[in-house]
Amino acid sequence: MRYYNVMNQCLAVLVGVLLTVSAHSQSSKKEDDTGNANNAVYASLGGPSIYLSAIYERHMLIKPNYSLGVKGGVGSSFSAVLFPEELSFPIGIFFLYGSKKGHLDMSLSAVPYILQQYDNVRERSYKEARLLYVPSLAYRYQKRTGGFIGRAGISSVINRNRVSTTWTPWIDLSLGWAF
């Protein structure tokens, strides 16, 4: 029951972010007309996606030297080899600094995560929802008008839980397309 409650909350947040993005995309049509690429999709290894994932991002504010946006997606787990049903749903904000092709890419993501657990007394598997935090610092190659995206950086997976808080150093690699 707890699992479904948390998942419902996560889905509500995800839907909320997507609706906000959708509304903003209507009002920011003027910016689109300047030729800037406001949207991007990319495949990611590590970073906020934790393991492998597909991410959609949307620029909310574009200035000559920087831009600000939100992103969300779905990914598979650390232990995808064993438990492919362990999924992550990264939702985050990002900040790009740089006016040409090269950008400093800083982001902070909250990552709802489905963890596969095993109850050894009842001898049954069950799922639990968790929330991870992933700050990330990366170099991004991307033309402002769109096209190929390449990102490479470092991140940390922060898991504050009832046992202890872990800070795991992690990689952040992505390839995608801006439009």
């Binding site: 232990s79 064993l82 202890s164 872990t166 795991t168």
Partner: protein
């Protein structure tokens, strides 16, 4: 931009720094003596252990030396945690990692004595659908000649355990994944250490005897020997005296010390009957003494256990210490290091438990043996 980066770097730096002071060791005269450990030797051993504690930046350590007459001399030095809130005492409980394998091997030999299993029984009797392991026997699992992949070599499992301290792995799933992979070599053709062998032995013990693994350990080992600090955690209740473990500069952590708290289940459920045991130096030396004295399994089973292929017996290794041969097993599980060894000539048992890794426990073992 520079300001943001500075704050980020400062936050990481502050999080990483946790000061740990040099530990003062109490005078050895506070420990009782035995026929083997005279007051002079007690001072020497204590000195060796204290130097190791500080030289290796260990948080806490326990040592037990038991002679052929079952007289125990024990010492505990250091602290139970990084804050040095309480001294480590002989009654405190630590994880012992792969020392668990001696317990599991002993349990399997006991079940063989009682007719639940046979030493050369194919494990396909218990896993008929696993084609890859159809020629693997119980003996192959016991002496690491099965060729089954070691679960600890799968990186994603390791990373997941690091990130989710309260992860509870299903040993059946772990075993199934490893059995589903191609064997590293043909069974019985060579020996290569694999934790999966001992995970499988625990699962097979349950299937053969029709009882849960915690019940089996209690019934055959811990209750008869009155081992009050020895538990398979979390399959038994977590003992209140279980202390934290610490990894110094763990590769998968940004903090200087990676802490493993008593309710961390990620590493212990990953290890299961290959490494989930908690105990202390006193219990380990008592178990090891009684095992080789023949109080748990028969002399025939002991012969099986101590028939070595290379350095590997059944749940045991032949360990050279200062040109002497000891039988035993070393154990390391995230945050903890342990060893228990028995000298078949002098019948002396030495057991060491520590709540810090990395630690070259063999160096300390050599130094203690040199004093004896």
């Amino acid at each position: 931009m520079k300001k943001i980066l500075s704050i980020l770097v400062l936050a990481i730096f502050l999080n990483a720094c946790e000061k740990f002071d040099v530990q003062v060791c109490p005078p050895a005269s506070t420990s009782s003596t035995t026929n083997l450990i005279t007051s002079e030797k007690a001072v020497q051993v204590s000195d060796v252990v204290c130097k190791s504690l500080n030289a290796n930046e260990l948080i806490g350590i326990q040592v037990s030396i038991r002679d052929s007459l079952n007289e125990d001399w024990s010492i505990s030095l250091g602290s139970i945690d990084l804050k040095q809130s309480r001294n480590m005492e002989n009654y405190h409980v630590l994880r012992v990692g792969s020392v668990t394998k001696i317990f599991t091997a002993t349990l399997i030999l006991k079940l063989i004595e009682e007719g639940y299993l046979q030493i050369d029984q194919k494990i396909s009797d218990f896993y008929p659908d696993q084609e890859n392991v159809r020629h693997v026997t119980v003996r192959d699992l016991l002496n690491h000649s099965s060729g089954i992949v070691d679960i600890f070599t799968i990186p994603s499992v390791f990373i997941s355990a690091s990130n989710f301290p309260d992860k509870r792995w299903n040993p059946n799933s772990l075993a199934a994944v490893c059995m589903g992979k191609k064997l590293d070599f043909a069974p019985s053709s060579k020996h290569d250490y694999s934790n999966t062998n001992y995970i499988l032995l625990g699962l097979i013990a349950e299937k053969a005897a029709g009882k849960k693994i915690d019940q089996l350990f209690v019934e055959y080992i811990t209750a008869p020997l009155n081992l009050a600090s020895t538990y398979l955690v979390p399959y038994m209740d977590t003992p209140s005296e279980l202390v934290n473990g610490y990894v110094h500069h763990f590769a998968l952590s940004l903090t200087e010390w990676y802490k493993v708290t008593p309710n961390n289940t990620a590493w212990s459920t990953l290890a299961y009957t290959a490494g989930a045991m908690t105990s202390n130096a006193g219990d380990l030396s008592a178990f090891t003494h009684h095992l080789f004295k023949g109080d748990i399994i028969t002399s025939e089973s002991l012969v099986l256990m101590t028939t070595f292929s290379g350095d590997k017996g059944l749940g045991l290794f032949e360990i050279a210490v200062n040109n002497k041969t000891y039988w035993g097993h070393e154990g390391e599980i995230t945050g903890f290091e342990a060893i228990t060894v028995y000298n078949p000539d002098s019948k002396i048992t030495i057991s060491i438990c520590c709540n810090t890794t990395p630690f070259d426990i063999y160096s300390l073992l050599n130094e203690i043996d040199a004093v004896l």
